[in-house]
Amino acid sequence: MALLEVENLKTRFRTDDGVVTAVDGVSFTLEKGETLGIVGESGSGKSVTCLTIMGLNDPRNTVSEGAARLDGVDLLTTDPESLRALRGMRIAMIFQDPMTSLNPVKKIGWQLEEAVLVHRDVSRKESRALAIDAMKSVRIPRAEQRIDDYPHQFSGGMRQRVMIAMALINEPDIVIADEPTTALDVTTQAQILDLMNELQREREMAIIMITHDLGVVAEVADEVIVMYGGQVAEHASVDDIFYRPRHPYTWGLLGSLPRLDLEVERLEQIPGQPPSLLNPPSGCRFHPRCTFAMDICRTEVPQLLPFGEGLHLQRCWLDDATKERESARTVAGLQQEAS
């Protein structure tokens, strides 16, 4: 049995304008010690997928379906009491918005200690020591003094590191990291990724890493999910995503990368606007923006199917030969050396 099994997850929000289906049938499994990268369009449901797994959506306007089983226990149907016990202890999340998830009127240290005290029977003194250690592990200087600071006294990147410390403080089995390093400079990012990697090796921690930085994905992920419009567009090993991508949206993503070693006046961008989730496009969700769209794409919904024999899943009507040709072209563009 996999550590985490997510099956046909759906999440709907009620809004003033109608029902938004933010996540529409997402499935994947996560093994011990594995890193799953999730990339995709902004607004495609990456964060909501993870919030749903964690049971953190507002129940007043949210409906979720499907299952997310942690060691066989479905997090979606388990009682709130046991869910609270699992959350933070076995499965923890690093949130995308550090300022909203830190309480502005409580000291940083208090918030870290709370995270410990909720789950463990330790003294205030021990929890303080743990909090200081956690701050040091994410390289916050003068942790002993800064533990008594308030969030607004920290820079954006430091607040982000506090969030990472908070998620790791109870040594969970699964860490869901939502853009954990986007607020950090590349040298600090390299250190944090190393730190997570170390913990992962030591404790076989599994990581779900949501990020827009394809460089980070290439570096840390074993498998990658590419999301578009609330659905999985492609799901494959990291090498397959970067060397043999099979979905037009993935080609568009890889083609839009700005490059340190290449000077271009304009960046490639995928034409058109992101899909409405109130009224998703018929057929393939990507068809209004896809340069390859055929008649069938406008009417029939493509299923998430393996490409060839492998474990490479993709959701696109194009024939295999076209996919191989376009995939090769995208990758050749990416590998183009600096002039």
Binding site: M99, H212, V238, D261, S276
Partner: protein
């Protein structure tokens, strides 16, 4: 090209106080500590640097959202360092900011259409109907749809919120836009869309940008010149081309080496220059070169004693380092051994 913004010897020290009744200042966080530079009209200046080195603080000082401790800020040939709130008001529409934390800077109780229209309203631009049309146009320009007009900030994803901030800054056609991480939460395709948009607007309206970002690829793409900061100071300033082909400061070298590659095989083989030691303390910055405790080229007796000045060594390329990098890329050995120092000398 004329100069739009001149910053001279800018310092921002946050006081640290003690005592409940009589608050006494016991020290100060030297977030920005003597920074001078110019931005030409129509130019884009990129700012990079370690988290906590003072980039956002600098940005807030430029826009006078903070009162700097020392130094001067000239905007459009006018000294704005000591202008009052009332005197600043007419200038507000000329200099806009896109904030780093999009959620914290949006009013959670206001619908997004209202938030984007606010700068128009405050400045009395257009009729309500015209404003609404303009806002819908702006939403579309940044890749949001008109259906988002009536939503509240919490109903948006991280990247969507960031785009609301960009739309709001663009609403009044300002002269200067200071963008603090404008695209960090966006997927690369929307990111490309926003970066292209910023460039188009610059060409069309002669806009001037100061862009703070951690993603060096983004900075490289959008900037004409790049400024590298470390612990409240500028350590290197050059054209984007110069900087990427020949970084001179060891900290810049470390940054370049740490950019992750979107190629799994290369990414696995990558060896970034690891900066040893702790992030230094901005209350009590190290003597000599502020980077010396973590610098792989550090030479005892020089770097820990003398503070290097920001010197223009090549035309348009300044650095503050006693032992700048001789070439790039370099091996770890070359990095550790400045050519101007003989090995025997270095070891004594």
């Amino acid at each position: 090209m004329s100069t739009l913004l001149t910053v001279e010897n800018l310092k921002m020290h946050f006081p640290i106080t003690q005592g409940i009744v009589f608050q006494k200042q016991i020290a100060a966080v030297k977030a920005v500590d003597g920074v001078s530079f110019e931005v030409k009209s129509g130019e884009t200046l990129g700012i990079v640097g370690e988290s906590g080195c003072g980039k956002s603080t600098l940005a807030r000082c430029i826009l006078r959202l903070l009162d700097p401790t020392e130094g001067t800020i000239m905007f459009d040939d006018r000294d704005i360092t000591h202008l009052s709130r009332a005197e600043m008001r007419p200038l507000r529409r000329e200099m806009m900011m896109v904030f780093q934390d999009p959620y914290a800077s949006l009013n959670p109780r206001k619908r997004v259409g209202f938030t984007v229209a606010e700068p128009l309203e405050v400045n009395g631009i257009g009729t309500p109907a015209e404003r609404k049309r303009r806002v819908q146009e702006l939403l579309e320009v940044v890749g949001l749809s008109p259906e988002h007009y009536n939503r509240f900030p919490h109903e948006f994803s991280g990247g969507q919120r960031q785009r609301i901030g960009v739309a709001r800054a663009l609403a009044v056609n300002p002269k200067l836009i200071v963008c603090d991480e404008p695209v960090s939460a966006l997927d690369v395709s929307v990111q490309a869309q926003i970066l292209n948009l910023l460039k188009d607007l610059q060409r069309e309206f002669g806009l001037t940008y100061v862009v703070i970002a951690h993603d060096l690829n983004v900075v490289r793409h959008i900037s004409d010149r790049v400024m590298v900061m470390y612990l409240g100071k500028i350590v290197e300033l050059a054209s984007d081309r110069e900087l990427y082909h020949q970084p001179l400061h060891p900290y810049t070298g470390a940054l370049m080496s740490a950019v992750p590659s979107p190629d799994p095989k290369r990414a696995r083989g990558r060896k970034p220059i690891v900066l040893e030691g702790d992030v230094p303390n901005p209350i009590n910055p190290p003597d000599g070169c502020r980077f010396h405790p973590r610098c792989p080229r550090m030479q005892t007796g020089v770097c820990d004693v003398d503070e290097p000045e920001l010197i223009e060594s090549v035309a348009g390329h300044s650095r503050a380092c006693h032992y700048p990098l001789e070439h790039w890329p370099m091996s770890p050995e070359e990095l550790r051994q400045p050519a101007s120092v003989t090995p025997t000398l270095a070891s004594t």
